[in-house]
Structure formats: C-alpha cells, structure tokens
Amino acid sequence: MNDTRSSLQRKTTFTGLLFLLPALTFILFSIFIPTVWNFLLSFQEWDGFQQYRWVGMANYVQAFEDRVTRNSLYNSIFIAVISTFFAVVIGIALAALIYRLGRKEGAVYRLILFMPSMLPIAIIGLLFTFMYNPEMGLVNAFLRAIGMDSFAKAWLENKDTVLWSIVIVGIWRIAGLTMMLCFAAIQNIPASLFESARLDGAGFMKQFFQLVLPLIKPIVQLSAVFTLVMQFKTYDLVFVMTQGGPGSASKTIPLHMIDTAFTYNEFGVSAAMGFILTVIVAIIILLTSRLLRGEYYEY
C-alpha cells in the first residue's frame, strides 16, 4: 500500500514538472535570462558588436555623473510617486462616494471610471496630445471659454508644465483601479457597522475617516503598490506625448535607457540605469507598503 502510494506520488510529481515545463521555458527565455544578463551587462563595456570587457562599477559612475541620467531618474520618480499619490486619493474618494449611490447607477459609473485603466498607454498618450494641443486642444479651449486666456499655454512644449501634464494623464488613467479595488473592499464591510455609526450620529466624513478608511487600509496599500508599479512604466506614455522633450525636460529612465543603448550603443551604461531603476522601484514599493501597512479585519 505504502509502495503504491509513493509511486503514484512520484508519477504525479513527474506529470506536474511536465506541465510546468513549457511555461517555465518561455518565462526563462523572456524574463529571467534577460534580467540576469542585464545585471551582468551593467558591469561590462559593450558597444553591441565587439568583445565584452569587464569594467566594474564604471558604468554606474558614468550613469550618475551624467546630468541627463540624474534628471531622468528624478522625472521617473516624480511622475510615478506624484501620480500614484493623487490617483489613490481620488480613487478612494470616488469609491466612498459611489458606495452611497444606487446600485445600478453606481455600477455604470464604476464601469466608466475603470475604462481608462485598460486602454493601451500609447493610445492614452495620443488622446492627450489632442487635449493639450496649444491651438486646438481642449484644455486651452476650455481656459479661453471661461475667460482665463492668459493661462492657456503650450503644455507639453513648456519646461515648467510638461511634467505635471504627464502626471495628470497618469492620474486620469489609473484612478479607476484604486476605485474598483476600494469599492469592493467597502462593500465587504458589514452594513450593521454603518448602521450603528449612523445611529451614533456620525456623518459621511466621520464615517469615512473613522470607520471605512481604517478597515480598507490593506486594500489601499495594495492599490498603491499596483499603481506605483504601473506608473513607473512610463516609456509608452512619455514617448508618444513628448519623446522626452522639450530638450530632456520630461525624459524618464526607460526612454533614456533605450536612447543610450540603441542610439549611442552604450549598452553597459543603459543596463546600469535599468538596474538602478529596479532598485529604486523596489525601495519605493517597500516604503509605500510600510507606510500604509494596516491590519486585516475579520468581519
């Protein structure tokens, strides 16, 4: 009996490995090997054709000494962190507001608000180049219509406004995700808790800050982490909207990496930037989840 059981088990394990094999092969090839290679490449000098040469930390030094790289790093962090902050705050607020509205009505609103989260980023970039267009764009047309002509400007061609313009697109795109996740979390709060809060005379604001927010904190944390991960992937958006311009005012690390590698053939330096970005993303995600750590409640 014992023997047949263990042979059955061995057979199951073997089948399991067989089932796993094709997926792991693809993942190994398109994620793990390139990631490890990128890490190794960051300590090498390579122009794309000649021999590899180990250069230690030289690529990292070169990356940090370059003003454009430092600037791109700042832009990457600025866009990701600021847009995540506002997207999460707006998302939570929308979830709490929609929770109070009718079931059918709320479902339609949620569907619409969530829609941008699934549109391709490149297409969102195109949509907003229309919106920000200096002559015909909606933003300037709106400002002119309400008599604030002096505020109308070339949003994406102006060094002072370009980053915030991109941040706003980031918020527009992703606030719906937090809304969706937080709405589901609020729905799970037993109605009796709201009932007793109301009987105690707590208004909407008080209920929100003292009841809802502490209870959905773990989901807020999760939304913030998801949003951060997505907002660090800025290549498509920035490429379509500004290509990093004006000058390099809106260049982010992914854009600068691709330029460094494919235009200037400095593959090692580009790899070093990629690794620096990975580390920074990891640190910011860890800090965020620390900051928003909350307890899970069983209802």
Binding site: T15, L97, P120, I123, A184
Partner: protein
C-alpha cells in the same frame, strides 16, 4: 429619523453625485472626443471641434484603414495577439494546475519568483532580449513578438490559475485518480468545464496587456515592414501629425475591440482584479 435629517442626507447624496459625475465627464470626454472627431470632415473639424458632427463622414475610417494601412496592422496585431494569448492560456493553465495540485517540489518558491517578476520594470529586459532575438534571427518577425509576449503574459496567468485550482475541492480529483483516470483525462473531463471564468479573466488580462504593447514592438520591428497596430498608429502620427480625422479613426479602430471585449466580460474582469485581493 426626522424628515429634516433625511433631506440633508438627500442633499449630500446629490452633492456626492455631482462630484462623481464631474469625474465621469473628465474620464469619458477624451474618449468621446476621438470618436466624434473620427466622424468629422476636416473642414467641419475646424469650425466645430467640441461637439457632434453635423454630417457623419466615414471617409476618415476608409483613409485610415486603406491609405494608412491600419487594416494591415490590425491583421498583424490580431494574428500575433491571438497566438500569444492561446499559448499563454494553454501553458498558464497547465502550470497553474501543476503548482496547485501536482505536488511539484518548491511550488511556493516558484510562485513567489513568478509574482516578483511582475514588479520588475519591463524596460530592463528589452535590451538583452533584443540581443538574444537577433542571435536567433527572430528580430522583425512575428515569432520575435509572440515568444516574449507569451513569456510576459504567463506569470500573472499562472498566478490566477493557481488561485482557481487551489479553490477547487481536492476530493473531485482524488476521486477521479482513484477511479484510474490519468492526469490528462482528469484535466480534460473535470477541470476544463469548471475553469471558464478563470480563463475569461486571464484572457482579458492578456489581451489588454498585449493589444497595446508598444515598446518591444517598436524596437523589434524597427528594421522591418511588419507593424503591430499601436506601432503602426505611432508611425502614422509622425506621418499625418496634424490630420486629426484619420488619426482619430485609427485610434477608434484600436479601441473598438478592447471596449467590445471588455463589455462582454467585464464581470469576470472585475472579479479577477478584486478576487485575489478582497475576500468575499
């Protein structure tokens, strides 16, 4: 409760509604704008930029589809994405099943590694991948897109399928195994019919992720004539920059499949993104 407090409650409710509606307007208008612009002729566009076209013009769609070769790019994208999606679903389901049910050693570690890849900035794999693909002579071909797309789509798919298979009662499979069903047969007869919601969730995740992919497509295809839809539209932008009518029509053509797909399966999608995160 007094009538007075009911009426304040109503007042705050309509105040809330106004805030939500303002956000709805901001969300929907840019999308609506593109749809409206795609139906306007150039002259009308300059006189009536914001609102409904007086006379719907389908010429922009024809121009985009034929002259700007969007039709051709559409077919390429459809081909690449459907093959990738098929592979992702097939291999993802098998792997998720193996990790959840088939006593694979270190399954927790494998799952953790898979999940952590989704947090990596994807740009870091682009360059080494390009080198690998050019060594294999796959740069500029459909296979050069399908292989990485499949690899990138798999981790989250495996994770979703893992969650699904874990939630199945194990008696179901043990009974089949005791009855002498092979793993393959058990999978086909018992599991597949039960897993359609999980398949739908993964299909949407995959489709949404791949249909608009630009970075890899623009690098892998830069030297070839092959264009996916997003890459085609971006080249179109530099070519027809100011011609908003055909440009908008092209954008509509990339959005229509997404929106149709989403409306059909949005229930699963919402379950998919909230399911793992929020119990209930």
């Amino acid at each position: 409760m007094s009538t007075n407090s009911i009426s304040t409650e109503r007042k705050t409710a309509s105040f809330h509604r106004i805030i939500v509606l303002a956000f709805i307007l901001i969300t929907i208008y840019p999308i609506l704008f593109v749809v409206l612009t795609s139906l306007k002729e150039t002259e009308e566009f300059y006189t009536n930029i914001w609102w409904l076209p007086e006379k719907t013009a389908w010429g922009n769609f024809k121009e985009a589809w034929v002259d700007a070769r969007i039709g051709e790019y559409f077919a390429t994208s459809l081909y690449v994405v459907s093959i990738s999606l098929f592979l992702i679903l097939l291999f993802g389901a098998l792997a998720g099943y193996a990790l959840a049910r088939l006593e694979v050693p270190f399954s927790k570690t494998i799952l953790f590694l898979l999940l952590s890849t989704t947090f990596l900035p994807s740009e870091t794999v682009i360059m080494p991948l390009y080198i690998m693909m050019s060594k294999l002579d796959l740069v500029g071909t459909a296979a050069g897109l399908i292989i990485p797309y499949t690899g990138w789509g798999l981790p989250i798919t495996i994770y979703i399928f893992y969650g699904f298979f874990k939630s199945l009662p194990s008696e179901l499979l043990e009974a089949a195994r005791v009855d002498g069903c092979t793993e393959m047969k058990a999978f086909g007869k018992i599991i597949i019919p039960l897993m359609m919601p999980a398949v739908a969730t993964c299909a949407i995740f995959g489709f949404v992720g791949l249909w608009g992919e630009l970075l890899w497509a623009s690098i892998a295809l830069s030297m070839s004539d092959l264009r996916t839809l997003p890459f085609g539209i971006i080249s179109f932008q530099s070519q027809f920059g100011t011609d908003w009518g055909p440009m908008s029509a092209a954008i509509c053509l990339i959005l229509i499949p997404l929106i149709v797909f989403f409306l059909f399966v949005q229930k699963y999608f919402v379950q998919g993104i909230t399911g793992g995160a929020v119990k209930g």
